[in-house]
């Protein structure tokens, strides 16, 4: 793929948009460039059900004058009609190439959905289900969540999400899946890999295990089981709207902890090497809990 900065303009004859609803948050994205709309399909939020543009509360504008530099803006008034001339659009990305514009747009979109989803809490975490048990992998950005999720899927787990655990009031985790990046080493033939990735978890489940881990080259897997208080504090630090909706975050995390998940913490080395150790440790801990 060539750099977006060198692409020729592919202007649309008129502005187009997609509108969708996910977790009761209605979002629209308008654009005047043909390359934008197909890329929206990869976003987990966009996989939700379509909705009427006029009913959307949160609107993004993804515009370019020359096909090389894109401006992404967000309507901060969350859906109120623009009846006065004042500029109410906030900048998400200004004059950036398309890749970078999407890289800025995507986390902004997720944070907006996480902020305004009335009945769900977004926690930064990878999520898989293995042998019917849901495993959450909370972690900050670029700490190896996606790689570990891919390794677990490769080991037979069902894919839920590599970015966010979406948790309801009863402490159940919902899928929030986007196609895993093709760069993640999965092993096996393309067909086998695609087959595994297409098996996205559908059923919300309470977490059986929560593993707080991040990649550090050469680190040993030395899991430590966290007490309830430590677990709650760790999860709060990964909850997307913890500062804006602390009571909601606390309530949902408390509900989640009522399912008595095993909570482990450790640095880790290479994902493929850690997965069998992680799964056997979970077997041991869960057997002990049972």
């Amino acid at each position: 793929m060539s750099s977006a900065g060198m692409e020729r303009p592919r202007a649309l004859s008129s502005k187009q948009h997609v509108a969708f609803e996910t977790f009761a948050v209605r979002v629209a994205v308008s654009t005047n460039h043909a390359d934008v709309l197909p890329r929206l399909r990869d976003l987990p939020a966009a996989q939700s059900r379509p909705c009427d543009f006029d009913a959307t509360d949160h609107r993004y504008s993804f515009m370019t004058d020359d096909g090389a530099r894109f401006d992404v803006r967000y309507d901060v008034r969350a859906g109120k009609a623009a009846e006065d001339p004042y500029d109410t659009w906030a900048w998400v990305a200004g004059a950036t190439d398309l890749d970078l514009a999407f890289a800025m747009f995507e986390p902004h979109l997720h944070s907006v959905i996480g902020m305004y989803a009335p009945d769900h809490l977004f926690i930064r975490a990878g999520v898989v289900a293995h042998q019917g048990r849901l495993i959450m992998l909370p972690g900050k950005g670029l700490t190896g969540k996606t790689t570990l999720v891919a390794a677990l899927v490769n080991a037979g787990a069902t894919y839920y999400s590599d970015q966010f655990a979406v948790v309801d009031e009863e402490g159940r985790v919902y899928p929030y899946a986007k196609p895993l990046s093709p760069h993640i080493p999965m092993g096996g033939s393309d067909e086998a890999v695609n087959g595994r990735l297409s098996l996205i978890g559908q059923e919300p489940r309470p977490p059986a295990a929560i593993v707080l881990t991040s990649y550090l080259p050469g680190a040993d897997w030395r899991p430590r089981r966290l007490a309830l208080g430590e677990s709650v504090l760790s999860l709060i630090s990964h909850a997307a709207p913890a500062q804006e909706r602390p009571q909601d975050a606390m309530r949902v995390i408390t509900s989640m902890m009522k399912h008595d998940p095993v909570v482990l913490e450790s640095e880790r080395g290479e994902a493929e090497a850690v997965v069998p150790l992680l799964l056997s440790e979970l077997d041991r801990q869960l057997a002990r809990s049972a």
Partner: protein, 379 residues
């Protein structure tokens, strides 16, 4: 009739008192207005001072019954002079600031000011012809309490109506200004255009060794340059994550921090000659304490000192923290993005592209231009 005369006299007195007092607070504008209305240059400074004094004297004269007619006559003369001056300016097409009420209110001398002064002149004529009104204390004594209250309320109402009218006009003009304003141009565009060659640089690191763009690209990996300033809190906030990414992503992406230092902190380095480059920028000595706490605390590696933001200037970057991707050939591969969150986005994008194999064809040797753009201070 008596009430009408009293009201007219007091109105004129108030107008002249306000005009005279306001002009006294901005005598330079009063002198300028006199000159603009055609008063000879040499006389304008005197007129500019005498005019507010005359206006105040007129106001005082209008208040007292024995002098009220003389005051009205003086007001009439002044107002006719103003009318003449404004009419003359309009005839000549001059865009003159009337300076009528000094810093309190002023507008271009035009039809509005002309009409206002003619109305006031008419009121002054009325007092000259039919005045004077009875002394104010006699007039007040002849009024009942209810009449006085009603008059007071009426005056207040008229005053409030005037203020409301003025606010409405201001609101209308402000809204119109918003409509007429050019569309927002968005954030200031920073950075060199993607696809262009990155400028060469040679900067000392925390050990005093010289690091060049070529040496940073030597591993055949993309390079993320993160521009920092020690005084910027978001730079401090992102440092722990950045140090971690330098360790965990080192197989795919090289991350270097370009730290701005001021010219006063520039200290010559003995390693410069060994590096066979023109003297680059700086080796920290006197500022080492503060800087060391920043990079040692978090284990930041590849920290380079940029004297007086010269390398940042070559990359056309003006804010911090801000990050930009260079491909393994030294070509700008992204527009720069700033802020704590933006740095993570840029690092993630560089990693994604590296893992996609976008730059696999690069052999690690650069196609950099032969012109070496070391900072100006280094030449």
């Amino acid at each position: 009739m008596d009430s009408l005369l009293v009201g007219t006299q007091l109105l004129l007195a108030a107008v002249f008192a306000l005009a005279g007092t306001a002009k006294l607070f901005d005598l330079s504008a009063a002198r300028q207005a006199a000159a603009d209305f055609g008063v000879p240059r040499r006389a304008a400074p005197i007129v500019g001072v005498l005019l507010p004094i005359a206006e105040l004297a007129t106001a005082v004269a209008l208040v007292f019954q024995p002098t009220a007619r003389w005051g009205a006559l003086a007001a009439l003369v002044l107002l006719l002079a103003f009318v003449g001056g404004i009419a003359n300016a309009m005839r000549l097409g001059k865009d003159v600031d009337c300076g009528c009420f000094g810093p309190v209110y002023s507008a271009t001398a035009g039809t509005g000011a002309l009409i206002r002064n003619m109305i006031l002149a008419g009121l002054a004529t009325f007092v000259v012809v039919d005045g004077p009104a009875p002394a104010i204390d006699d007039w007040v004594a002849a009024r009942s309490a209810a009449e006085l209250v009603a008059i007071g309320l009426g005056i207040a109402l008229v005053g409030l109506a005037g203020v409301a009218w003025r606010l409405r006009s201001q609101n209308r003009s402000l809204r119109q200004a918003v409509v007429d304003a050019p569309a927002s141009e968005g954030p200031e565009i920073q950075g060199l255009p993607p696809g262009s060659f990155a400028p060469q640089f040679a900067l000392p690191d925390t050990q005093g060794r010289i690091q060049t763009l070529g040496s940073l690209l030597g591993r055949g990996q993309p390079l993320v340059l993160v521009f920092f300033d020690r005084g910027c809190q978001p730079c401090h906030d992102v440092s722990p994550s950045l140090a971690r990414w330098q360790r965990t992503l080192s197989d795919w992406v090289t991350i270097a921090v370009v730290m701005a230092v001021s010219a006063e902190e520039n200290v010559a380095t003995e390693n410069v000659a060994e590096a066979n480059v023109a003297e680059p920028t700086v080796v920290e000595e006197d500022v080492a304490g503060e800087n060391i706490s920043m990079w040692d605390e978090h284990g930041l590696a590849n920290v380079l000192f940029d004297n007086a933001n010269e390398v940042a200037g070559l990359f056309r970057l003006r804010s911090t923290p801000i990050a930009v991707i260079l491909d393994p050939r030294g070509t700008i591969a992204s527009t720069p993005t700033g802020g704590q969150h933006g740095v993570e986005v840029v690092v993630r994008l560089a990693l994604t592209r590296a893992l996609r194999g976008e730059w696999d064809a690069a052999d690690g040797t650069t196609a950099l231009p032969t012109i070496i753009q070391v900072p100006a201070s280094a030449v």
